[in-house]
Symmetry: C2
Subunit: 211 residues, 2 copies
Amino acid sequence: MEQTLATNTGAPAPRPESDRAARTRARLQAVALDLFVRQGFEETTVEQIAAAAGVSHMTFFRYFPTKESVAVEDPYDPLLAEAVAAQPASLSAFERVRRGTRDAMAAAPPSVDLETAARIGLMSLTPALRARAWENTNETQRVIIDALVTTGSPRADAVVATGACVGAVMTALLDWGAQADPRPSLGECVVDALDRLDPRRLLAAAEEETS
Amino acid sequence: MEQTLATNTGAPAPRPESDRAARTRARLQAVALDLFVRQGFEETTVEQIAAAAGVSHMTFFRYFPTKESVAVEDPYDPLLAEAVAAQPASLSAFERVRRGTRDAMAAAPPSVDLETAARIGLMSLTPALRARAWENTNETQRVIIDALVTTGSPRADAVVATGACVGAVMTALLDWGAQADPRPSLGECVVDALDRLDPRRLLAAAEEETS
DNA sequence: CCATCGGTGTTAGTAGCTAACATCGGCACC
DNA sequence: GGTGCCGATGTTAGCTACTAACACCGATGG
């Protein structure tokens, strides 16, 4: 009952991993991604991953709750909620999500792309991974919505704005992951997607009709 | 090789079910939903569903490819793509998706809600079902994007517009499914969500800032 | 009256995932 | 410098979702 930080989201205080544990985790993830890329996700068994990493399959599940999680683990999510909450409360919920997400992605280093690109490519062609990715997104959305609501946005607006922005980004990313190689960087893809949701731009396009 | 209709999406022509088969399928679905609601999705085994329906577990899998599919089967999806394609090509991609989806939902009968509400409620509290629902959405999005692109919208616009509208609707629905009982109808929820994405409304809200 | 065929059951197997318990190796503390 | 604790891992056994192969049964039609 003596929680020290408010950022705790319900998990029972995962103590920091030892060096050894961190190395085992990294080895498992690297080996798994390599196998997934080379022979496909469904065609790779957990047993194979564990053997290639020199551990037993139980050790794999001690580090990753599911086979999917090793491919969709994403460290960006908390940053997004933070960036959204940092937007001025005077803006609409939609603009706060849109600009917050855009800022966070524009600030992200463009070098992480290599491994991340492989992961997104895998997702775009593996239904089970797409499903998990969306489910991850769900938690991200919950956090963003909370951030919006606790800083004054009406709940209905927060829900719709978050769903729209996150949905647009995810769909754009999956489309990006399925494309052939001459393509923009991941960050550019996200920023471009969010720019296309600029209300000014949307309204300009909408007004080309009569009335 | 002798396909008769163009609406075939790649599946090998599923012949219409016999009466007996349709009854078995309906019985399985009804029994499954009942068990899911009463004792939870994870806590219900396929064996239990099959037994309660008076068949073997193999018969269950002949009708539903996964345990999740019996809870997330959704007949609305094809209608959406149709409604989007029916929007005038002079509109922006975003407005075509937004209005198409809105029209389709506004036209849907408000009576289907009972069983559908149960299904969405289940989704909102079962991670595995949410994941499947999102994955279903993926196919819907693909169809909508195709419809937009083949009728003149730039691909990037189509992808972002579809992701935003579908994401907003899904998020709103899951939020709706998690709410307590005094709540609007499912159709009203969707229409309200899409109205909140009206570019005019977004811009009005955005302009309350300086510049 | 028999052949066919759709719907179903039986059996056996694979893979993801979990629980219980044993083991091994390093680190702290005396 | 022993010694005991504890974290990381292994072993084993088991459950559940899901699949393949094949046998059966009942209706329908020639």
